[in-house]
């Protein structure tokens, strides 16, 4: 199917940058939807219908990936030969060691029925949310560095390397926040596990 570009950036007609104007992306998404949605192909041949279905699946998967900075970065890393899969270790990032240790103690206490751990956990959660915001700021800065660098240059590769580290840290923090949420509100359905984003 030569008409359908499988690469999300190509499909949307975008440069392979990490910084994306999401309003522009949405506009492109709507335009491409009008062109490719299967609803527009009901009266066309089976082959054209199949192409439309394929194209729309790529379009929707691509929009979902590119509009979210984290998914977008993970996608670009994979495309550029920096797969993040094998780096998903459970190891605690060294700079978080102390916080994680304390957090685990608090979680134990709450699970053991000690309600006094609850306010502490609430504040711990805030700490991790702040940490996540910090990572997000790092990512934003690294995105700019990458986008400004010559493609495939040493600077670009270095930026991707650091982005991969930041994404792993972010995923780790994200999981901690989820654990705290679960401990605080066991009844509420949680967000999808971050492990399965890709």
């Amino acid at each position: 199917m030569p008409i359908i570009a499988k690469n999300f950036y190509d499909f949307f007609g975008l440069e392979r940058k990490l910084g994306i104007d999401t309003a522009d992306l949405q506009k492109r998404f709507y335009e491409l939807s009008r062109r490719w949605h299967p609803d527009r192909f009901t009266r066309k041949s089976a082959a054209e219908q199949a192409d439309a279905l394929d194209a729309t699946a790529v379009l929707n998967d691509g929009y979902r990936t590119l509009r979210d900075p984290v998914k977008r970065a993970e996608y670009l890393l994979t495309e550029e030969g920096f797969p993040i899969g094998e780096q998903r270790s459970k190891d605690v990032p060294p700079e978080l060691l102390e916080e994680v240790f304390e957090l685990n103690m608090m979680l134990e206490e709450l699970r053991g029925g000690d309600e006094s751990a609850r306010p502490q956990l609430e504040s711990a959660k805030q700490t991790f949310i702040d940490l996540r915001s910090g990572v997000d700021r790092d990512l934003e800065r690294l995105f700019t560095t990458y986008d400004a660098a010559e493609p495939a240059s040493e600077t670009a590769r270095q930026a991707l390397h650091e982005i991969r580290g930041a994404l792993n840290r972010r995923r780790y923090i994200e999981n901690l926040i989820r654990d705290v949420d679960r401990a605080l509100n066991p009844a509420i359905a949680t967000e999808e596990p971050v492990e399965n984003l890709l």
Binding site: D39, R43, A57, P193
Partner: protein
């Protein structure tokens, strides 16, 4: 009906109709030049009750006819069958306590319902309702109707959607699209007149509840999130009232009616009437007369609201969840649209207004709005409506079973559809030829807490040492919300055979067999009609021959010609009661030929008589 007659030219095929296949009621609509319009039956009724009954000649009838049979032949009649679509015998036990479904013994992954001495699957029952709608549409439009858009609850899973599609096929309809009920409703409301905005559609019907949140932008209806409960509806409210009424009747009459199907049905009707009255009046009463006894009970709105508050509350949790998924606060919802008969209840309206902090739209008839929207979607598919486009989502996450009974998610809920995911599988044993993939739907992490969809068997894998085979499997949820699985050998690029074993649903072969059987039945019906038509023609020619035999022209024929006519007449009479219309037609033709000379002679006599100015008989 002048507008039906407009000739759209060769390029337009027959009309695509839009069908709301509801738990309680169903409707069919189409797009005319002025907009979507509900199709009425010959008696001018828009609503076809989703009730089906097996009549003594072995046919299934649906709608009003079946509704009357619900009282007189309850053991051959069934309603609310939508609750059983795409479900197995093991997971409808709760429904059985409240609904008089008679499940056949041999039900396994697909439920079979007993109607009289026959059994039918839920898609076959639904097909009878669809067939009735199709007939109504064909009668109204004066043309065959073979293509349809059918609506389903947004929260329907894959098996429930597939069952609905199967029902369409069994009814002789090519289901061009399954569209989610709340999204369809948003199309009908014409809210896209505002250039941009976020709307919530609260759809509380007879048996299902859905909430969908959409962003409107320049004719594009983009669903952001959807949630719901496919077993929560007005039925549940009816059952609450019914339980109380049954207890009352028992204490007042000393009779336990719960085992009396007709009594329960009549009482159900009585409580529904009271429920409906309470939407417009602060006071109502349940009036019930049965077998010479009368039960009456006043019901005020306050008590009613106290009773149903838990049911209404159950609809609010999915609303909050969908807001969270859409990452929106209630204040960010610009408009709320109410759909489904249960939204007539004042308490429901108040609860929705309180949650979304905006007065919900109730301008359109909540019973009709989904069918109207389905007709708009039909117009989009036909190319008649070009400015609107619906981008819907899958309501449930899709995953596969991995080690330790854990689900690995491939496509997340609220992903815009079509959506896809590709996974590579390999073999665990040297020379392994098959890989079995268990696909599930749901939000929980363990296989046992999710809904099993199907097992896909990758067959005829090239035998290789363990771990070397690379089978790339593509999971694609199409625009109907139905999963398609394809696989190819990544090493050879060869398409890989995938055999689907649905966990709850009919296999492709079963549907094909049912369609074939229905064709056979249709052929039987056709043959019968042809025989009847041939007999009518035979009656005419036999009567004409009998008259001609008394004429002078007959007497003037040679004895041979007269004998030929009498023989041909006797031949036709001999086959008249047979079931072969070809034979009857052949004998009619023979009699025609034998009487040709006679007819000409009679005509000449008539002409010459006319020329003489005299009158002949």
């Amino acid at each position: 009906m002048g507008s039906f007659q407009i000739d759209f030219g060769e390029s337009r095929k027959s009309k695509i109709v839009g069908i709301d296949l509801g738990t309680t009621n169903s409707l069919v609509a189409y797009m005319d030049l002025t907009g979507p319009r509900i199709i009425e039956d010959s008696a001018g009724r828009k609503i076809v009750p989703s009730i089906v009954s097996l009549v003594p000649d072995g046919r299934l009838v649906a709608g009003e006819t079946a509704r009357d049979l619900l009282l007189t032949a309850p053991e051959r009649t069934v309603y609310s069958v939508k609750r059983l679509m795409g479900r197995g015998a093991d997971d409808v036990q709760d429904e059985l306590k409240l609904f008089p479904f008679r499940i056949a013994e041999n039900s396994e992954s697909v439920i079979k319902l007993k109607l009289g001495d026959k059994t039918f699957t839920p898609p076959e029952i639904s097909a009878a309702v669809l067939k009735q709608l199709k007939d109504n549409a064909e009668a109204a439009l004066g043309a065959p109707v073979t293509e349809a858009v059918i609506t389903v609850p947004a929260y329907f899973n894959d098996a429930q959607r597939q069952a609905t599609k199967d029902a369409g096929r069994l009814a002789g309809l090519d289901v061009l699209r399954l569209v989610n009920e709340p999204t369809a409703a948003s199309l009908a409301y014409g809210l896209d007149k505002r250039a941009d905005g976020v709307i919530a559609v609260y759809d509380f019907g007879g048996g299902t509840f859905d909430i969908s949140i959409l962003r409107l932008h320049d004719g594009i209806f983009e669903v952001l999130a959807t949630n719901g409960d496919t077993h929560l509806g007005g039925d549940d409210i009816d059952n609450l009232l019914l339980r109380i009424a049954l207890e009352d009747v028992q204490s007042e009459w000393g009779d336990d009616l719960s085992g009396d199907a007709e009594g329960v049905q009549r009482l159900r009707r009585a409580v529904i009437r009271a429920k409906e009255e309470l939407s417009f009046a602060p006071q109502a009463a349940i009036h019930f007369t049965y077998k010479g006894k009368t039960y009456e009970r006043a019901l005020d709105r306050e008590l009613f609201e106290r009773l149903i508050a838990p049911v209404v509350e159950r609809t609010l949790e999915p609303c909050r969840a969908s807001l969270a998924d859409a990452k929106l606060t209630p204040e960010e919802i610009d408009e709320v649209v109410m759909v489904g008969g249960s939204t007539r209840i004042p308490l429901v309206r108040a609860a929705v207004e309180r949650l979304f902090r905006t007065k919900p739209h109730t301008e359109l008839n909540p019973d009709e709005v989904v069918a109207l929207g389905a007709a708009v979607q039909a117009g989009i598919l036909a190319g008649d409506v070009e400015d609107k486009l619906l981008l819907d989502v899958t309501p449930l996450s899709l995953g596969i079973e991995t080690m330790g009974g854990v689900v690995s998610r491939l496509i997340h809920r609220n992903s815009t559809i079509p959506a896809s995911a590709t996974e590579t599988f390999t073999t665990a044993v040297d020379g392994q030829r098959n890989v079995l993939i268990h696909v599930l739907q749901g939000e929980r992490e363990l296989v046992k807490d999710c809904r099993s969809l199907a097992r896909f068997d990758l067959k005829d894998i090239q035998p290789l040492p363990a771990g070397l085979a690379r089978i790339e499997v593509r999971f694609l949820i199409d625009a109907n919300g139905i999963l398609n699985v394809t696989a190819r050998d990544a090493r050879t690029g060869r398409e890989q055979t995938v055999e689907v074993k649905p966990s709850y649903g009919l296999t492709e072969e079963q549907v094909a067999a049912m369609i074939e059987e229905s064709f056979e039945k249709a052929e039987e019906d056709l043959r019968e009609r042809q025989v009847r038509e041939a007999r009518v023609e035979a009656d005419n020619i036999l009567a004409a021959t009998a008259r001609a035999r008394k004429s002078e022209a007959f007497a003037a024929l040679s004895s041979e010609d007269r004998a030929a006519i009498d023989n041909a007449k006797a031949d036709l009479e001999a086959v008249y009661n047979g079931s072969d219309h070809h034979l009857i037609n052949a004998k009619i033709e023979a009699l025609n030929r034998a009487t040709q000379q006679l007819a000409e002679n009679m005509m000449n006599t008539a002409v010459s008589a006319a020329l003489r100015g005299s009158k002949i008989d």
